[in-house]
Symmetry: D2
């Protein structure tokens, strides 16, 4: 359980920091300007492609894909410090490195479960950053934290699967560059609870698939990364070759997909917290009220110290989890993945709240990224199952030791 960076990781860290300083941070202003001017509010600004080209050239590409060094993937423990750095500019850096959700999870699914043809058709352009993708699981009418609640039907008719249902909060699906969706539905409602679901690949332009609207999160439509779509599936037909894995394997694939996705979010959230803390320290050192800088006020200092204490603990837990994923596998790291899924969003949310408070009204506004980040981490307390579901499961694991 060695958390120090090895030489190779350290080299990548330095390279990435250089890329951040030379390209990503300067691009933030450009990105905002282009966002304001673009015609399609769901499309990515052109600066993203430029950054991607630059990152790829520098060998900062697909680093997330643990277990697949042939695509540039690093073990989780080595990816962690890099992902954290990308979290310092979360709207730009992850996508610049082709390490942005939900594509990352989808690439993992296709790498693990895709047929050669599926990989050629969808994985390759994703690995190249030529297209984007979405993952359609959550439904509006049921508690999706319980996968057995899913109501979307996937029915085989001859050589086709016919999909009917409704999904929402399908992140990225509004992006015109999104070409493919992995859709979860029930192929056999009579099977065992965890064998009812299957996943199929559905091209976004398939007839019967209607994107109805973008959902907002605390007022943000997140149009800079493809929004959160509500989608209707009516008699949507795809060839049976589009099945991912086997029939009834949807739940297992979803489980396999979640672990890495969660830890990536956590890694990046820590970088976000670090940058927010940096912004706040700089601000309180220069801002004055009642004749002295905010930085000398006891309450502000307490926030800063608390943020440092909490970030340190959080990072170590994430690193330990990454180490376990690398050594005993995602299943073996199940409890730790749940622990970071619970601990990270609320901790970073607390830090961002204090950072907003230290910035005054500006902290709430579009002039700083703090409020948007806070909305993002807050939504993580619900995404992939609310905290409460994970706490319950963690408690069961703990109690099982003594039962």
């Amino acid at each position: 359980m060695d958390f120090a960076h090895d030489a190779e990781t350290e080299k990548l860290r330095r390279r990435l920091l250089e890329f951040m300083d030379e390209h990503v941070h300067p691009a933030e202003e450009v990105f905002r300007a282009q966002l304001a001017e673009r015609e399609d509010r769901w499309s990515a600004p052109p600066i993203v492609k430029e950054l991607q080209a630059e990152a790829r050239e520098r060998g900062l590409w697909n680093l997330f894909l643990a277990g697949h060094p042939e695509h540039g993937g690093l073990p989780n423990l080595r990816y962690a410090p890099l992902a954290e750095i990308t979290g310092r500019s979360p709207a730009l850096a992850p996508v610049a490195l082709n390490c942005a959700a939900p594509d990352t999870g989808n690439m993992e699914v296709l790498t693990m479960f895709g047929t050669p043809e599926q990989r050629r058709r969808w994985l390759e352009p994703l690995l190249d950053g030529r297209i984007r993708s979405a993952f359609a699981m959550t439904e509006p009418d049921v508690a999706s934290s319980d996968a057995t609640n899913i109501t979307t039907r996937i029915v085989r008719e001859g050589d086709e699967y016919v999909i009917d249902g409704r999904k929402w909060f399908i992140t990225g699906a509004l992006d015109p560059a999104c070409e493919i969706l992995i859709v979860m539905g029930k192929t056999d409602p009579e099977a065992d609870r965890h064998r009812q679901q299957s996943m199929v690949l559905v091209p976004r332009d398939t007839p019967g698939l209607t994107i109805e609207r973008g959902m907002t999160v605390f007022g943000y439509d997140d149009g800079d990364h493809g929004g959160h779509a509500e989608i209707r599936f009516e008699n949507v037909r795809v060839p049976v070759e589009n099945l991912v894995g086997g029939e009834g394997e949807g739940f297992a694939i979803a489980q396999a997909r979640l672990g890495p996705g969660r830890i990536h979010h956590c890694m990046r959230s820590i970088g976000m917290a670090e940058r927010a803390l940096e912004l706040t320290c700089r601000r309180v050192l220069e801002r004055e009220a009642f004749g002295r800088p905010l930085a000398v006020q006891g309450v502000v200092r307490e926030w800063i110290a608390e943020a440092r204490v909490r970030i340190e603990q959080l990072r170590l837990l994430v690193l330990k989890t990454a180490y376990l994923m690398d050594t005993v596998g995602n299943k073996g790291a199940h409890t730790e993945i749940q622990a970071i899924k619970i601990a990270t969003p609320r901790t970073v949310e607390w830090i961002l709240d204090k950072c907003v408070q230290a910035h005054g009204a500006a902290g709430l506004s579009q002039d700083l990224p703090l409020a948007a980040w806070q909305a993002g981490v807050r939504s993580l307390r619900l995404a992939d199952g609310p905290d409460e579901v994970h706490l319950r499961s963690l408690a069961r694991a703990e109690l099982r030791k003594y039962a």
Copy 2:
């Protein structure tokens, strides 16, 4: 200190509840539809005028204006239960009753400090709901919680005041119906700390006044109630008759204005919390996960019970404060006003956070008002001075008892 409703208040309560049921709640859907369709994103939908006409007819008009029964105003203690009810539909009910911020505070200022001509020209149309107004105090470049930081200059030249400066988060100023702004600036930077500021009335169409943009709060532009403007004042000239009160009285007027504004926010926030709790109870009774309604889960129950315990305490403190404002005056109730200013936003924010959590992703979205309300109460932890300023002042008052 009798908090029971007298017969007259009870009659008004029943009348208001009837109005809510018959008109306001049914209008919420219409309001949303009209918001989506209107051309000017900063204008109020037409349904608002219809509700105003209906409310006025029913004698539910200007109830907020304590001390002025001739305009319909009620004592704070009697207004409190009515304002709470309007908080259950905060985007519609307060404005329907002509009891919405920031007009309420501006009407109070004009009632107390306006010249007869100022009252005729601006107060009357405000009392009639014919125009709207804004209050321009906060500035982007300084900590506005310390009023002595204000940098906007108001310089007398002959019969005119010339205003130069920059303001932001000026709520309501983007509404085309907003005709008048009360602007705070410094007339004498050499005077005593609290005698440097003055207030002048500035019609929104005065040359040199430029509304540059709307600020967002957690992604919301609040265009349904006139947004939060950033405004540039360059060589803006108004006649000296537009001075409110005397030169150097700006700080005192601002103080007088804040008390009622704060308690109104608190009253409405409690109504908001009650409605959120009701929505949540209904939701968890019907929503199932893992085979049983959310309502039987221990953690969800704890949220509900906690919300009830906290609301009860909060309401009583607001009522006590209202009682004190009515009996010993706003100054005499200073400590209590600070106490509710601190206690209310964070308590209601906590409740709304749990209500969002109980609703899952829908709670974060535009389909429910919860996230928008949470953004609103969170901004109250900064509006009119951050909590920390008030806590410090409260502590000083407590320590003074023993010094």
Copy 3:
């Protein structure tokens, strides 16, 4: 719902404050000295009797006994501000006024359910302060929050009840002045859940009743008010006349007893918080660290302000509950009694924790009452059922509105 003190209450308040200043506070030092010197560590020091004589003379006697003005009892709302004052010296003032638990609850039970003979034999000397009493419900081997768990048996044999079982945390029972116990046990384990229990009066010197030891609470044996006894009942026989109420009424009597007991604890806890806050303000004004008084440190100020904000809310909720108990009865005030039972101990515990912190090591020690008070309020989070049971019940009541 008028919380202002009427003239009569105000007169009593002034009289009580005078008594506190002239007698109780000066006696605190004497009390401690006598505690250290007495021979029986479970006996009350002689100063208590002196204070009782003085209080009785001044008409400050049995004020707690709501509904019984003939004994000096006041309505709850009028008793509340007086009980709060006694909480400022919780080891001395309540007992000085013959208003200390558990006698208060026992006197209520005997007043409501006692036979004339029981009242003559036990109630009169209790009302006179000549003897003390205990209430034996909690058992070591079961979760007593669920009264149906009780295992102590009360079996009728001829003209006697025979009691067998084990009780613990029986407050006051170690005091040599304690002459009588009200014991709860099961007379009919086959009856309906809430009809199985009965209560009987058991003189402390009855053969078969063995007091085994005193339980400690955070290291305190509470020997100044009779400790918390563990008691064994082996073939303990009392005449059938000692039954309180009827057979099977034990649960109902226990319920009736709890409401007033809880609110008295809450009233006093608020007085305790006020005194702790006063001690703290005085301390931080005079104590210096790093060259300036603690009172100017932002974090210390925040504690003080927070304490004030929380106490205000708490007191109002307790007053509302008192008002409801007086007007709609203890049953009608059930939800509010639960709310204060939950809100008070944790709020006062938080305040005491900060007060300890502001006092440094002295705050933890025998030189100040803070740590002992904190242990006391902390135990209230468990006494009469843990908070969690009450939160669950409160949530059920809230949900029932919509079911």
Copy 4:
């Protein structure tokens, strides 16, 4: 930064666990019985000596003394998992291994700063476990978190130092086995702030040294490990050879002493939390209320899961700090030592509070160690400086990065 246990540490862990199972845990009952029976309430029961003999024989002796393998000392990172295990029986295991405070810190001081004669006379019997010691720094009349406040005088007269002053909360000093105190006082009040203090060795039987009383902590006198003495020094004379280090080096020595002391407390506190959690899991699995085990209640489960999440983060931060102390030294690990000093007591206090709550009244009592442990960790929020002092210092370090 490799946190995995190496083979040697793993061997020691297994050996220690065996010792715990075979000797320490079985001795807990004996220890309690002997405590109740001993004549001198400040003396250690005889079982302690027996355990020490056994531990020493097994090579589990003086493991704490980092940097001194010749005495059995291990690097901090290797000691951490062992210290954690001793925390599972905190009254017995640390002393059994001669790894108990305050002797550990005193042995470190003598190892680093003692003269050969001082080491022969005092360090050797301490390393042998033949005597015990105390460290006298805290004073009753000043804020000792600011060492410059110290008022005890150490004045050189000829070949002697003369000590006058008053100390309190001197842990261990009441134990009759305590033979030597390290006393901090001012030799030169005119010197620079951090050069005024010196330390001298004072045998406990020196004339003029009077132990006045034992201070309690939440009602506990901690007589099982020598209590917390208040000590008067009146014209106490020791030879100048008893000076530790040089004159004016007292502050520097105190700083050097604190780091390891703090991390040892943190390591053991984690073990305490683990054992409390284990006790709680076992309890809630078997205890029933309202017809089902407590373990199925949502709120109880949340406590258990939270405890696990918090312990994991805490342990990793303590391990990182240990690693830094070993590699960059105690000074280099200053910020991390402060972080664990802040994070550990409050986290473990929170866990113990929930464990108490899950145990009901028994949790508060002498029948379980939970309340006593909670009092102990709570006192750590004040010992060696209150949390607030450390938070401020941590914030300063963070802000310095950007100043």
